[in-house]
């Protein structure tokens, strides 16, 4: 049975994915502004 904790776990990993995407975006700006 799916529990609230399962949704939180997947959403947490998804949030980390978004954080990584933001990191990629910032690093891209650093590299392109060189």
């Amino acid at each position: 049975m799916w529990m609230f904790a399962d949704i939180v776990a997947v959403a947490g990993a998804g949030a980390f994915l978004c954080l990584c995407a933001a990191y990629v975006h910032l690093a891209e700006r650093m590299v392109s502004d060189r």
Binding site: A5, V10, G12, F16, L17, C20, A21, Y23, M30, V31
Partner: protein
């Protein structure tokens, strides 16, 4: 030192060094899209994978697209494995009736296997069904190692290409890593291991009556196939809770030697691949030499400390000297069939590389040997390191070494003919700081937060070592456990899960950004102001920078943990 131990240690280091060239040459053919002897057998499968996945194998990716593909692929793998771990109790191939993992444990385990850490907060044989072991964990053993190989090759392309935007195609690199490197190597090793007694079956556990009349359950399963990739992919997640100390995973001194050798095989070969890609094999030899120097130092410390044993036992009247039929030294937590030399080789290999398989209880190592194992991890897993991650970690240190050399002697920081600018330096420091901050923050919270401390089995400096080792192992993507820490609690499952993500992806992103930045640069011919990076002087500089930057960051906490424990042990204290 017994002569047999000396021969074993020298043979091991010699074979690892010798294997770098043939393995690296083969890897160069694979990632250079050259035809290999496996293409007649596997070429059709590679093309079928591209057709099925809609991949244009001739297309190149920018570093942003490459990083995006790594992230999306890893997230998809996480979701798939998480679901499998949660519902394994309802699925077939589960003769032991293993139930689904709890949400936090599945979160921790899925991240562990996606990040190539393979930290196990569960007991292998009773926590995962055969289906999970084969479809979930072994799959991840292959593809997470494939991701590491792909990123390393992309980084090497970035450093060695001139005036290009692309750094390769992630899907092609991943497919080739799995098909031409990991699968064939693992197949051969699995057959060899099975020939030595590593079990491989799908039958239910055997229930027997012992000579004393007690009932005993003998767990088994598809072990050899997982064991091979567990070592070759520097994964480390054991089929059994006892990992490579279990006789069904690692039955003989020969399998112990081969498994430790398999851990270092691909990381060693990658240095030669890098040299060939750079057009100067000496560039690769420098990296290999730096790895070997640090590895031999570590091996010497672990072996020497274990051979010396615990002086408290000598004071109590025990004789720790080696003789015929008696290994001597510190044999606590070790398998008699491996002895001190075999265990020291494995301990140093599994922590120098980010493998995490264990053939001895690291918690039972003498303080200095346990501290050396931890130091191997916190150096950044670059002493051979993980498959792929070792090479790109070492190259980050090489960039920092070149920059520091430039600062010290006023020379232009250049690597492979390309100028190292502020952007590359900032990205390199971001990568290293993510690792070091990750370890120290998690260990710091673990050392003061009540529910975290409740998991720690020992008091004093040994307890701190148990906390520090867990944080280092997770963030360093090693996965081995020091033991003495009850890891399946909400704090450790979630905290170490986050640590594994930080150690993996907050390192890969800046590494790929450096690759993209460097790939677009043009090379300049060497001048009298160029610091040569293909000679012995650079080996010394690189080792020095690794020790200073990597090790001194952790000196205070090491002083409070293994160093203090060693001093107290000499004074007669125990924990």
């Amino acid at each position: 030192m017994p002569a047999a131990d000396l021969v074993q240690l020298l043979l091991f280091v010699g074979l690892v060094a010798a294997a770098a060239v043939p393995v690296g040459s083969y890897l160069h053919r694979v990632y250079g899209a050259e035809r290999t002897f496996l293409h007649p057998a596997l070429g059709w499968l590679e093309r079928a994978v591209y057709r099925f996945a809609g991949v244009d194998s001739s297309g190149e990716m920018t570093w942003v697209a490459y990083a995006g593909s790594v992230l999306i692929f890893s997230f998809a793998c996480f979701v798939g494995l998480f679901v499998l771990l949660r519902i394994q109790g309802m699925l077939p191939l589960n003769p032991a009736h293993v139930s689904g993992m709890s949400s936090v444990l599945a979160f921790n385990t899925a991240i562990a296997f996606v990040t190539n850490t393979d930290w196990q907060a569960y007991a292998g044989e009773s926590g995962a069904s055969y289906l999970t072991q084969m479809l979930g964990l072994t799959w991840q053993n292959f593809v997470s190692a494939g991701v590491g190989l792909s990123v390393a090759v992309a980084f090497a392309r970035g450093l060695t290409r001139k005036g290009r935007k692309g750094i390769g195609n992630f899907w092609v690199d991943l497919t080739r890593s799995c098909l031409y490197v990991l699968l064939p190597f693992a197949f051969v090793l699995a057959v060899v291991l099975a020939s030595q007694g590593v079990v491989q079956n799908l039958g239910p556990w055997t229930h027997v009556t012992t000579l004393e009349g007690a009932r005993q359950t003998i767990a088994q399963g598809p072990v050899a196939s997982q064991e091979a990739i567990k070592e070759l992919g520097t994964n480390g997640g054991g089929f059994f809770n006892a990992n490579s100390a279990h006789p069904f995973e690692n039955p003989t001194p020969l399998t112990n030697f081969l498994e430790a050798f398999a851990i270092l095989l691909l990381p060693a070969g990658l240095t030669h691949l890098f040299g060939k890609m750079a057009g100067d094999v000496r560039q690769g030899r420098v990296l290999l030499a730096a790895m070997l120097v640090l590895f031999v130092i570590g091996l010497g410390v672990v072996y020497g400390s274990e051979r010396a044993g615990n002086p408290n036992l000598t004071r109590a009247g025990a004789d720790l000297t080696a003789s015929i039929g008696r290994p001597g030294g510190n044999m606590e937590g070790k398998e008699v069939r491996f002895g001190i030399a075999g265990s020291a080789i494995f301990v140093n290999s599994t922590t120098a590389a980010s493998c995490g398989a264990v053939d001895a209880a690291h918690d039972s190592l003498t303080p200095l040997a346990g501290g050396m194992a931890m130091l191997n991890i916190v150096l950044g897993e670059i002493v051979f390191g993980g498959v792929g991650s070792g090479l790109y970690g070492m190259l980050v240190f090489a960039i920092i070494a070149v920059f520091i050399a430039g600062l010290m002697v006023g020379r232009t920081p250049e690597y492979l003919g390309k100028k190292i600018g502020p952007v590359e330096m900032k990205l390199a420091m971001f990568a290293l700081l993510a690792l070091e901050a990750g370890v120290l923050v998690i260990a710091g919270i673990g050392a003061v937060y009540g529910p975290a401390l409740a998991s720690v089995a020992n008091a004093g400096p040994h307890g701190l070592s148990e906390i520090l080792y867990a944080a280092s192992s997770a963030v360093g993507n090693n996965g081995s456990a020091f033991a003495g820490l009850a890891a399946d609690t909400p704090f450790w499952d979630i905290g170490l899960g986050i640590g594994m993500l930080v150690g993996r992806f907050l390192f890969i992103i800046p590494v790929l950004a450096i690759a993209g930045s460097m790939a677009s640069k043009k090379t300049t011919p060497p001048t009298s102001g160029t610091f040569p990076t293909n000679g012995a002087l650079f080996v010394g500089l690189l080792v020095g920078v690794i020790v200073i930057v990597g090790a001194l960051t952790f000196f205070p906490v090491f002083a409070l943990g293994p160093v203090l424990e060693h001093a107290l042990m000499l004074a007669g204290g125990t924990f």
